[in-house]
């Protein structure tokens, strides 16, 4: 695997929030995460976009929850005591509203040097490389750093809102 040049990651060190999903070790830039919220029941939305599990109430705000495992092509694990929502920052990636990702467990905040980031391998990982920005060798395990733009793109494209005509007055 080849190191990603410093041009793509200008800071020498970045902080990532690492977590487990579908048996894989994943990470997101800490600056993209607003908060981690304990799992609580979701209101399902029938006929919603692919990978949208439903919505939940975060202090009066309705937040969509994405099935991160499904979006990554992994098998979702049953909800457990360590399951939680990663609420992404509203202004990250030009999103108009908050979005939460369901993950199996949050691990730690990890500081990673730019030279440790490696290009996602085209083979050998269960997560499609197009959904990753980089991978890191983290204590003998592969840490998959997720590309939020790619992750949310297909979900957004899969939201063909069928607008019914207004009922006659």
């Amino acid at each position: 695997m080849q190191s990603i040049s410093a041009e793509t990651t200008p800071e020498s060190y970045r902080q990532y929030l690492t977590f487990e999903v579908g048996g894989e070790n994943c990470g997101l830039l800490l600056s993209e995460v607003q908060e981690v919220v304990e799992y609580h029941p979701i209101t399902r939305v029938p006929a919603a976009a692919p990978f949208v599990l439903g919505v939940f109430n975060l202090r009066g705000t309705v937040v969509p929850v994405l099935d991160l495992a499904g979006r990554l092509g992994l098998t979702a694990r049953p909800v457990g005591l360590r399951s939680c929502f990663l609420v992404l920052r509203e202004d990250a990636r030009e999103r108009a509203s908050a979005v939460a990702l369901l993950c199996d467990a949050v691990e730690q905040v990890r500081e990673t040097a730019a030279e440790d980031l490696q290009e996602p391998p085209s083979l050998g990982t269960r997560i499609p490389p197009r959904l990753l920005t980089a991978v890191v060798n983290a204590d003998g395990r592969i840490l998959h750093l997720l590309d939020m733009s790619s992750l949310l793109q297909l979900t957004r494209e899969g939201t063909p809102r069928k607008v019914a005509p207004e009922p006659p007055a």
Partner: protein, 159 residues
């Protein structure tokens, strides 16, 4: 976050019910009556029309929302909810439901679903904050697409 809805948010009370595992609410002034399943006169026209119920001299079509909501077709319903619509073509419809959850009076907010979580089902037009949970707002006027309302009205009139 979507804006507060103008039409249904004005309602003081919401009727709460469930279809499958999905929790719904609709403005209480849409509710005409709740009937037992035995009131259904089966007369399947298409997949979504289960038959009709009689309300006074009016014949009201009964619909299964499962196809519109892309849910597996459920078994026998637990109740039939007769709803008033805002359509002059089809003023009343009934839907099959699986559970009545009661009336919510302490509704704090009604708003549109976030764009990312929008439903393709036109009848789901928002979200209702009921105490500590969220319920999908059902708009009765959108349950039957406008182009199908005429067909159903004709079927109802034909007896």
């Amino acid at each position: 976050m979507g804006p507060l809805l103008a039409d249904s948010s004005a309602a003081a009370q919401y009727f709460c019910f469930a279809i499958g595992e999905n929790q719904f609410a609709t403005a209480f002034d849409h509710i005409l009556m709740v009937l037992e399943p035995r009131a259904l006169i089966p007369h399947p026209l298409r997949g979504a029309v289960l038959g009709s119920v009689t309300r006074g001299t009016t014949r009201v079509p009964v619909l299964d929302l499962a196809p519109a909501l892309e849910l597996p077709v459920s078994g026998a319903p637990a109740g039939l909810l007769v709803l008033r619509t805002r359509s002059p073509i089809l003023e009343e419809i009934a839907i099959a439901i699986d559970r009545v959850d009661g009336i919510a009076e302490n509704v704090r907010k009604v708003q549109r679903l976030p764009a990312l979580a929008a439903s393709r089902a036109a009848c789901i037009c928002g979200i209702v904050h009921v105490t500590d949970s969220l319920r999908l707002l059902l708009e009765p006027s959108r349950v039957v697409p406008l182009e199908e309302q005429q067909d159903l009205a004709r079927w109802r009139a034909d007896g």
